[in-house]
Structures are given as C-alpha cells and as structure tokens.
Amino acid sequence: MNLQGKKALCFLALPHHNKLLVPVMNKLQDAGMTVQYCTAAAEAGFELTLKEADLPYIHALDFLTTGTAIKIEQAMQQLVPRWQSRFLHSPVVRGVPLAIQDKVIVSAIENVFCFEEMLAQTKPDIIFALHELNPWGKTLGYLSHQFEVPYVTFQEGLFYTSVPFNRFHTDYSTACVVWGEATRQLLVAAGCSNDKIVGLGNMDLAKARQRATTPQAIAATRADLKIPTGNKMVAIFPSHAHYNPFDVPVWTKWLKAHPEITVVFKWHPISSAANIAEAMKPIEHLQNIRSVQEYDTYAVMGACDVCLVIGATTTGLEAVVFGKYLIESPMPGPRYMSFYDEMVADQVGGFESFGLAIENALARGIGPERQACVDTYLAKHFAFLDDKTDDRVVQLVNDMLAAREPFYVVDAPQLYRKDYGEWWLLARGGQEVKEEWVQEALRVADETGAVILGGLQLNSEGLVHHQGIAFDGNQTPISLYRMLPPDQPMFQYQRKFKAVQFPFLIAKAVLEDIGGFDSQFCGRFEDLDICLRVDQKIVYVPMVSCVTDWYSQDITKAPQFYAKWTGHLWQNDSQHLAEDGLDHDSLARLYVEQALKVASL
C-alpha cells in the first residue's frame, strides 16, 4: 500500500453520514494520506455536522474569491434570462415554486465555481462524497472529471423509491461502493453503470451490532430508557413519511393490558416535533410507553426483543442484521420494498393489529425457517457483513491511485497478434478476422492517416456486435448500436470513434510510442486503454471484420480503469446519434421496432 503523501477531499453534510465516511477517512489517514474535509452552504446547516464532530474543514464559500465572484456573476447574467424564458414557457418548470428555484439555482452556480476554485487550490488525489444524487455530490462529481481526479461515492441506505429515481448514482462516480448484490441489481436496472458499482459491504452496521448487543450495552440502554427489569422491550420505528393515526382504542387497550411489555417509539431524525407530539398524545400517559428521537437507533435496536417498522425504512434491514424479530406495517401507496415479501418479517396493518403481532413475535421467536430466509436475505444485501468494509475501501483507494501510475509491457500474451508489415492486427483469442477486411482497412489507413482501424463485428445471430465505442451518461464506454441489424444506415459509412474494441489494426510505431500494453488489464479494457492512450485518428471501416460473441462484464479491474481514465470518458453518445439523425428517444424506438420485428417472426 502506498498512500503516503496522497491527499483526499471528503465532503460531509449531515451527521448520519459521518458513520459511513469518517471511519474510512481515519483509516486513510493512518495509511499516510492527508484528509481534508469540506462542506458547503445549505439550509440544513452542514457546517454544524463538522463542528459537532470536531472535524476541521473548509467551506465552499471560503473560495468565493474575486475571480470566482466574477465567474458567478457572468454565469448569472447569461443564465437568468434563459431560465426565466424557460420558466415562462414550460408548465412543468413552473411546477416548482419560483422562490425555491431561485435559491437552489443560485446556490448551485456558486457551488460549481467555488468547488472549482477549491479543487484548483487543494489539488486532491481523490474525492469522496456520500452520493451524487444531491446537488453537492453531483457538482463535485462533474468537477472530479474536469480535474481528472477519481471520485468515490457510497450507498446511504436502502433504496425504497421507484427504480428510475436511482438512475443517476454513477454519472460521475469512479466507484460507487454499495452494500451488496441486491443494490447492484437495483441500480443497474435503473440505468447505472455495472462497471462502477463495487460491493464492499456496509461500513458501520456490523460494528454497530457488536457495540450495541453486548450485555453491558443492553443493560445500559434499558436502564437509560427506564425499562423495568424483566420487561420485554418492543421498538417501533416509524419512517419519516406520513403514518396512520395512533389514536386506536384497540391498541391503547392492548398497551394497558400488557404492563410487562415496554414499547419504545424511536422517531426518525427529520420527523417534526409537532407531528410526534400529536401522535403520542393519546398514549404518552401510559407507563409502558417511551418516545425518543435524538437517541442512538442502534442502542434501541440492540436492547429490544422485537422490532416493528412503519413504512419503508432502512431500519428494518438493520433490525434483521441485529438478529431481531421483525414486524412490518406498510404505509398506504405503492411499495417498492417489502421485508414481508422477502420473508424476513411478519406483516400487519394499522395499530389495531400491533398487539397481537407483538404477542406472536415474542412467543414464536425466529425459527429455523425464518432464519434461513434471513440468511438468504443478508447474503443478497451484503457482499460482506463484518467490520472490515472500511479496510476494503482503503484497499480500493490504493488500487485506484496505483492504477494512475501504470506499468507498460510490450507483450500481452492473452491477445492474438498478427504482423502486417507496419501494422499489428490485435484480437482476442477465438476471433477470426476476415482477410478482405484487413486489406480494406489498410487501404483506408493509407487514405485517411488513421492509426487504429476497426470494422463491423457481427454476432452469431447476424446482428451487430460492435461498431465503435461511445460514452454514455455514466461516462462509461458502450458499444454503440449493439444488436441492431447490419443493414441500418449508420453502419454503411466510414466514421471516427474515440475507441473501438478488438479486433483492430494498429500502427506498430504508435503502439511502440505509447509503451505497449498496460500490464494491469488482462481480459478486458486492454483495447479501450490503448485507444485512449493513442488519442489519435481511430476509424471505423464499414465492412464486416469478424463474427464474434465476445463480451465481458468482468469488473475486477473496473475501478482501476475508471480511476486511470477519469476525465477522459465524457459522454459523447449524443454526438454520434446526431451524426445519424437520431437522439436517445428515436434510438429507443428503433430498438423497439427491431424487437417487434423479431417477435413477429
């Protein structure tokens, strides 16, 4: 490991983010890195997070220099009339109150230029933020590419919204660290890049479980909450969304009838005090009721016998990790996540059914059948469930930074190589390249001065396997127009790409100039890496070069590839589509047309 002298910039916002980011930063510091915390202006008072954690930090507005202020003002002068015109002409834009737009757009503009100045001055080697769905994370992500600095983001909690809302987690992340396979599948289904998703486990949960479930910890929590000795403790975790009314006589009657059970309501940090007071009014006088908000969730969870969650909340998963019997009371409306459907929880309706469910849970306990489901569920959600995730993240960081100092070799034995005088034909094992294509490509090379030439690759079904590489909204390489029939117009003319896949012809002198092959890539990324390093004329020759089904989703070296090439993979698919008179919508329609044709055969 060699992180000595390297610098990390870590953006912090809200207190519950600290447990995910600070342990990693501490380990990076132990490994010799300098860690600089930063934050920005927000109505939620992000600075308080760092002050309360006693972490020194820099603020985006510390970089509001004269030069930055001029850039902001110039940007505003251009943007204000444009945005106002759009506001006046678009009902959906008017769907957000103008005063809110005003505040957030001004803040966004300031952040872009202040963060830009911050990065220019601090010169980090790597940047961290919780995720890139909020304005700060997105802006830092964009700038990480501008400055060619790897950017690592994380999973905050369970994703319990409709899938498409998770589309934008990997726009700019070099690596998005998630808990496990379930999250990967959800994000990929939403349109995120599979390459950039790294399953390393949860940073804090295993440690929290260890911490909160020792006999001493349990005793301390129970004493603090004044749980009578011998009483069972039931923890109820309402989500921060709306909830069913508490004033249900069946429930209050049950509570009165069971003084041997203490029910603790643990409220979400962002729930409003007024709502809580209103909800608790009918039952707060009962001896066996407790209500807490600013309290360690894991302490409550560790000390309880049964957990009951109301609505969608990560707390349910945490309860399963803690080995607690889980009851789920869903909220009205669509459900995108269900512990009951995963068979790790009982399901109940409203408060009128809580009493019986709790009695059953206490009587039954977690039997072998439920435990088997829990084991499956945890395996799906957590790549690892231990206290080593921060170490794995540190290793990831090391690998990513090391990848930016590559070692080049003249040979790549995993590749097939054929000599054509001043040219090499490079291919993967098993790819048979048509000689007529090679001759045509050599002719085109003479004509155009291209230094890398690729052709039209078909798959064994006769559809297009590869023409050229475009970069999509995730700043990820994609094989443009894959699976379309080869008679489409876009395949019929010579054109330039930033990269092409094997097999391709490359001028020997050029390969020698760039030092050969990057030794860290074997089995995937070699071709892309060469093309990006060459960074010269790469031409598609409109003739079938081979029939191949080669495809790899091996992501072993993906973090290294994306770390090496951060800032060089800017989205360009729209430009290629525009060359063909298409856009994303019309391309989607084209695929649907083709699919319907195939289906009708």
Partner: protein, 389 residues
C-alpha cells in the same frame, strides 16, 4: 365581483406575502390605481380567501383564483421529473457543460413539485397585469404559483406586464424578478425602471406613517383647497417672521427655474406682528417675487405635516421639526440660511448659505432624476398604449 364588461381589465396580483409585508396597504394602491384609471376595471387577483376579503373590504374588486395542486404520487413525480429534465437539459451552467437539471432535478426539484397542475386553464382577459417581484425571504407557494402563472399566461397571450417592487431588491437571487414591459420601483438604487411617487412607495413598504396615511386620505381635498394640480412641481417653504428677507431672496432666485412650478409658503395663523397676521406680512413681502415663479400660494389652512407630503422639495430658511420630518421622509431639502453654514449632510439634504445657489442644487437633483416620479396608473396606461401600437 362587479365588472363593467365594456371596459378592459387591469389585473393586480396580490399574494399573502405582499399583503402581509405592506400591512394590507398594497390594496390601497390597487384602489388608487382603479380611481386613476376610470376607463379600466382594476381587479385584484389572489389565491387566498382571507386576502381577497381584505381587498374587498378596501373597496377593490377581487378575483379569487383556485391554484390547487394535487399531491403527486411516485409515478407522477417521476414523470414530472422526467419532463422537467427534458424541458431544461440544454441549459447548462455557463462556462461548463453541466446542466442545471443534472444538478437539481433529482433532489431539489423532484422534492418540490407543489404546483404541478395548479394553474387555471382559462385564458386571461386583461389589458395589463401587475405582478410583484418575489422576495427570496418573503414568499409562499401560492403566491409563487399566482405570479408564475400570470407571468406565463401574459407572455403567451402578449399581455403587457408591469413588475412591481415590494420586497426589497438587490439580493443575488434574481431569477424571481421575472421580466415585464415596465418595472415600478421604490428606487433606482438596484435596477432601472420607473420610480413611484413617495406615497405609492409608502404603500409598498412595511411601515405605517400617520402623516402619509392622512395625506392619502386628504390629498384630493387639499389640492382643491390650494388649487395645486398633480402635474405641478411643488416647492414648500416653511415660514417664520424672523426670516422675511431670506424667504424673499429664495423666492426671487426661484423665478424662472422651471415651468409648472408651484411655490407654497406656509404661514402660522396664530402669529401676529404690528397688527398683521404672518400671512398678511408674507403677502406684502413676497407678492412681487411670487409673480416671478408662476404659481405662488401663501396658505395657513393646511397642516404642515400634510403640506410636507405634497412637496417635491422643501426649501427652508431654518432647521425645524419640518426639516427633520423631510429628512425622515427622504424629501429633498435645502436649508437656505444666509449667514449660516454650507454643508451637504446627504445627497438629498443640503445647507446652503447663498440663495443664488438654490437653483443650482435643484437643477442638479433634476438632472440626477431625483424628481422623476411616475404614478403606477401612469405606468400601466403607458404600457397598454405601447402594447397596442
């Protein structure tokens, strides 16, 4: 609501923030505009029933609009977010290729769709719309919805808009200051536009002032009494028998300064010297000099507090409670006291010992645009006329 169908309509948008900020005085402005534009129906527009009641109580016709937006479910929110991204994805942060939508769509915008579907579908029937500029710290969802809808509908239908300064301008948050054919402002300190008369500025401020309230109530009868028309430039000279010579000199130097002047000398009916009232002494002292200014008035009937509100400028031979009030009300003031001091206390408050220099100061203020004031009704009339051409 009683509307004369034969007259075109001027819509005057008033949301809860502006009603609260002005302590309901903005309705008085609407009423004043209505009185000054007899050829138009002037109608207040608001989404708030309680505010509408305030308007009606103040004698203004009010249109209560329904800006109800349904709560979006997850699918609707997703669709709205998609639509918003498509509608704005081409707008990038200037100097970058990072779109505003990419930064804000999934967080701030997606979580703030509180006005989707809130806008009335029927077209506006208006010759002009007056819309307050939203204040970044003083706004409500409903007011934002009202002003946004009216501005968009007016733009679509080619109806001229007068943007009205209510919340103070000058913040870096400028997206809320939607464009219009004219801006009616309380000052030109921050942006260019038409500056309203003091009394109309007052109606858009948060304070209550008994002097100005009294002036607004009695202006018409005061002008009738003094025979002073709204188009005349009023110079108010507070009088005292100690300063007969000084006042004569001031009036002499004002002769021919500009057309359409009215010099009002206010005397005290309780003061007598040599068997004459102060007014009689003034008449004898300045009769000739007052002929030189065009329209001269010596009056002892109207209270000084009211006269002060009528004045465009105060030229006093002495400092007094009147000049303190003119200072507080930001009325341009020259204290011309021969043998006294020379000092510019502020841009609008000057001590000048030489009467012959008085026209110089007045001309300087005139060139600066200090006296340029346009009533809101005049601005509205002008934009309607220009729009019709």
């Amino acid at each position: 609501m009683t509307i004369n169908a034969s007259k075109p309509t001027v819509l005057f948008a008033i949301g809860e923030p502006e009603d609260n900020y002005t302590d309901h005085k903005i309705w008085y402005l609407a009423k004043r505009v209505a009185a000054q534009l007899p050829d138009y129906n002037v109608v207040g527009v608001t989404p708030d029933e309680a505010i509408a009641m305030v308007g009606r109580t103040n004698g203004v016709n009010v249109w209560l609009v329904d800006l109800h937006s349904n709560v979006l479910d997850d699918d609707q929110r997703l669709l709205a977010t998609d639509d918003l991204i498509r509608a704005t994805n081409d707008i990038v942060v200037p100097g970058t290729h990072l779109s505003i939508a990419k930064i804000l769509a999934l967080d701030d915008f997606s979580g703030s769709f509180s006005l989707i579907g809130a806008e009335p579908k029927e077209p506006l029937q208006a010759a002009c719309v007056v819309i307050p500029m939203v204040g970044v710290d003083n706004n409500t969802k409903d007011a934002c919805g009202l002003y946004g809808w009216l501005a968009a509908a007016a733009a679509a239908q080619g109806i001229p808009v007068v943007s009205l300064e209510v919340s103070p301008l000058g913040n870096k948050h400028r997206f809320s200051q939607l464009p219009g054919e004219a801006r009616a402002l309380k000052s030109q300190a921050i942006m260019r536009g038409d500056v309203l008369p003091r009394e109309e500025q007052y109606l858009l401020r948060s304070s209550q002032d008994p002097f100005i309230n009294a002036y607004l109530e009695h202006e018409k009868e005061m002008r009738e009494m003094l025979q002073v028309s709204p188009s005349e430039f009023v110079i108010f000279i507070p009088h005292h028998v100690t300063f007969l010579w000084d006042i004569r000199r001031i009036i002499e130097e004002l002769a021919g300064w500009q057309n359409n002047m009215c010099v009002i000398v206010r005397t005290d009916p309780q003061t007598f010297r040599r068997g004459m009232s102060e007014g009689q002494m003034a008449l004898r002292s300045y009769e000739e000099a007052l002929k030189g200014v065009g329209h001269g008035v010596i009056d002892e009937r109207v209270g000084v507090g009211l006269l002060l509100q009528l004045a465009d400028v105060v030229i006093a031979p002495f400092a007094s409670t009147i000049t303190e009030q003119s200072w507080l009300h930001n009325i341009p003031t020259i204290i011309c006291q021969p043998g006294g001091m020379d000092k510019a206390v502020s841009d609008l408050f000057i001590w000048e010992s030489r009467p012959e220099q008085v026209p110089f100061h007045l001309s300087m203020w005139r060139d600066w645009g200090v006296f340029q004031r346009t009533q809101l009704a005049t601005i509205i009339g002008r934009v309607i006329h220009e729009s019709a051409r």
